[in-house]
Symmetry: C2
Subunit: 401 residues, 2 copies
């Protein structure tokens, strides 16, 4: 019977052997690896991988493109959207990427970009890191091959979000949710609310023809628990979606567009150019792209969200008035109501909407709720609003779902 | 604190990973090629690369997804947009792809998706074919490593468009323009007008933050010579764009979005679902997406365009009236005028507009002309409208530009 110490030693040995084995691989890719580049150059030569990015400065788009190297971004979920998101950030020369996923590459993933058939069987984070490091050795990578929703992993996830910055010990600059299920989104939401961590959510519908991205600033905008998550209505019959034993459809087009819109929003947010979108939907059937914002819900179930709202109110009250006016002007663009005149079929029934625990927001035409937040077991029949739920309780409840 | 069971599990995982790593050889990719698949299956198993695509039928989106295998698409330009376009079509299981490009892969291309550093120095079509064949061996590939605008190559290009269908001798189903210059776009336009070949044009602005796609049906919609090509105004100062000795900026995000919108439009067109967009713009700075249609110009300089217009008029006159009404209803959605309320700076001066040889179309807010068609040398000072220019003359003039 091996002791814990013996097993730990064995794990370390194996990890070292594995690293050596990976380094030994005589793949064509590795042999042609370019050396690291210390400073991004704007020089226009074929051998400079950054010339087209540094040109953004000259074009008047970005003040200081090289600042991209100072940021650390966590990508949770390295599937159809997450892998392309990670590749775009890698090619843009982001400082550090933290990748979280517990899935393996399968041939069934080959209808989306990024992974290739020879990677089938490898863990997604491992396969992604190998490809991405080849593409851009200047990026620092940290991968975690686990499910963030289990208790231990969630604790570790929280720790990496708060300490996995470019300088170890500092928090990451942004968390990107590229997961495909409610539980994982809720875990990211819980973590970011507690940490006050700004994040962006992304999603693609099960029928593959609509998607969205959303910027969530704890205390300021609606969090994932404030209101039912939103999607762009895809104009198809709900009944075709929820049958048993049926896999979701997916398209490389929709996922590529959503990843592109997500990373574009990340670049605008980090490098301060253009207008950052709070919510941007994509309906592929009619090519329309609704935008909106949603304020945080004072009755949100998440106590950390409510605490962040208090913090935000305090900060807002302390701000000089002139800034507030500017903000309102900026928001005027974002809030804008589009007159699409397209008739849409809601993906959620009225009964489901009424059963939702969050408030149902006033939605612009073309946006509907993706699904409703299930009423929690412990809260059935009583008013949820005043229930103080601890993080542990929340996590326990989430695992039950 | 890890338990003995957890550590044992980790040891087993690492041992398996190590075995796999050792098994991997130099030509890992090639060795793991999957065999061809005769018939697309909807079976939901990890080893089926088509399950998520065939699910589109069950979801009520596409009537017969497998029809994708009967189509042949030519992609002209395998750069930032074209390579991702080709990859998406490959992963979607298109029947045949014809790739045209004369460029080599450079490290300077690494800020866009698809190509990897170890491919630097290879021709783009060769490198692309190798990667794409690995991803999906069911697709037939035909590559042409040449510049389509020289006379001999143009003749060959015309021949492949008219005979490079899935069944040799039949025309391709669609031509996609993913090139980055006026001359190549004009060559594609000339070829498609003469052949009556439906095509889609795509483009990304030099400042990397706007792009567009456009469906061109010879005789029906405006061709590339009917009117100045359109772009989405990017809200930046024109003066920053046209300085000498400066490379264009580019972003993997914008190019990924444009490729995604393009291939989505291709899928909708070929598989007959949703509303096919005639013109769809993307302005990344404000996240807005204007749409429009443009009718063919009866005074177009291209005589084949004018001939196609006559053909179209005849066909329209012969159509039963009830269909015409349906068409108008459908168009109502596409034509729709969006109220964006965003102030835009034109990228072209009024003087440049007046010097344009094409008519200046009535544009919705947010769309402007990319650049104007230079007034032809031979036509200066006289009325261009009645000049009958032969293909050879046109090509000769184009090479002079």
């Amino acid at each position: 019977m091996a002791t814990v110490e013996e097993l730990k030693l064995r794990v370390r040995e194996l990890e070292n052997e594995l690293i050596k084995c990976k380094q030994r691989q005589c793949s064509a890719e590795d042999a042609h690896n370019r050396p690291k580049i210390d400073k991004m150059s704007a020089e226009v030569v074929d051998s400079n991988p950054y010339s087209r990015l540094m040109a953004l400065k000259r074009m008047g788009i970005v003040d200081d493109y090289e600042k991209i190297r100072t940021f650390s971004v966590a990508v949770v979920g390295v599937g159809g959207v997450g892998s392309v998101t990670a590749e775009m950030l890698t090619r843009c020369g982001i400082g550090k990427l933290l990748l979280f996923d517990y899935d393996k590459v399968e041939l069934a993933n080959m209808n989306r970009l990024f992974f290739q058939p020879h990677q089938a069987g490898l863990s997604k984070v491992e396969a992604a890191e190998h490809t991405l490091r080849n593409i851009n050795p200047d990026v620092a990578f940290e991968t975690h091959n686990y499910n963030i929703t289990t208790l231990d992993n969630f604790t570790h996830f929280m720790d990496r979000i708060s300490h996995g910055g470019l300088e170890e010990g500092l928090p990451v600059d942004l968390v990107l949710s590229c997961v495909d299920n409610f539980e994982a989104r809720m875990a990211i939401n819980t973590a970011c609310n507690e940490l006050g961590q700004i994040w962006m959510e992304s999603g693609v519908s099960e029928n593959a023809v609509s998607g969205h991205i959303q910027l969530i600033i704890p205390g300021e905008t609606a969090c994932f628990a404030c209101a039912p998550p939103l999607v762009v209505a895809a104009n198809i019959d709900e009944k075709t979606l929820k049958r048993e034993g049926v896999c979701a459809a997916s398209l490389p087009t929709t996922m590529g567009v959503v990843a592109g819109l997500l990373v574009q929003n990340v670049l605008k947010y980090l490098l301060k150019f253009g207008t950052v979108s709070y919510y941007l939907g994509y309906n592929a059937m009619q090519d329309f792209f609704p935008t909106m914002t949603m304020k945080a819900n004072p009755q949100c179930n998440d106590r950390y969200c409510r605490r962040q709202q208090e913090e935000y109110k305090k900060k807002e009250a302390e701000r000089p008035k002139v800034e507030a006016v500017q903000e309102e002007e900026e928001e005027a663009i974002v809030h804008e109501d589009n007159e699409w005149g397209i008739e849409l079929v809601s993906e959620v029934t009225d009964a489901e909407l009424q059963a939702a625990s969050g408030v149902v927001p006033d939605l612009p035409e073309g946006i509907t709720v993706a699904y409703t937040i299930p009423v929690e077991e412990t809260a059935k029949g009583e008013t949820v609003e005043e229930t103080e739920v601890s993080l542990e309780d929340l996590m326990a409840q989430m695992r039950k779902l």
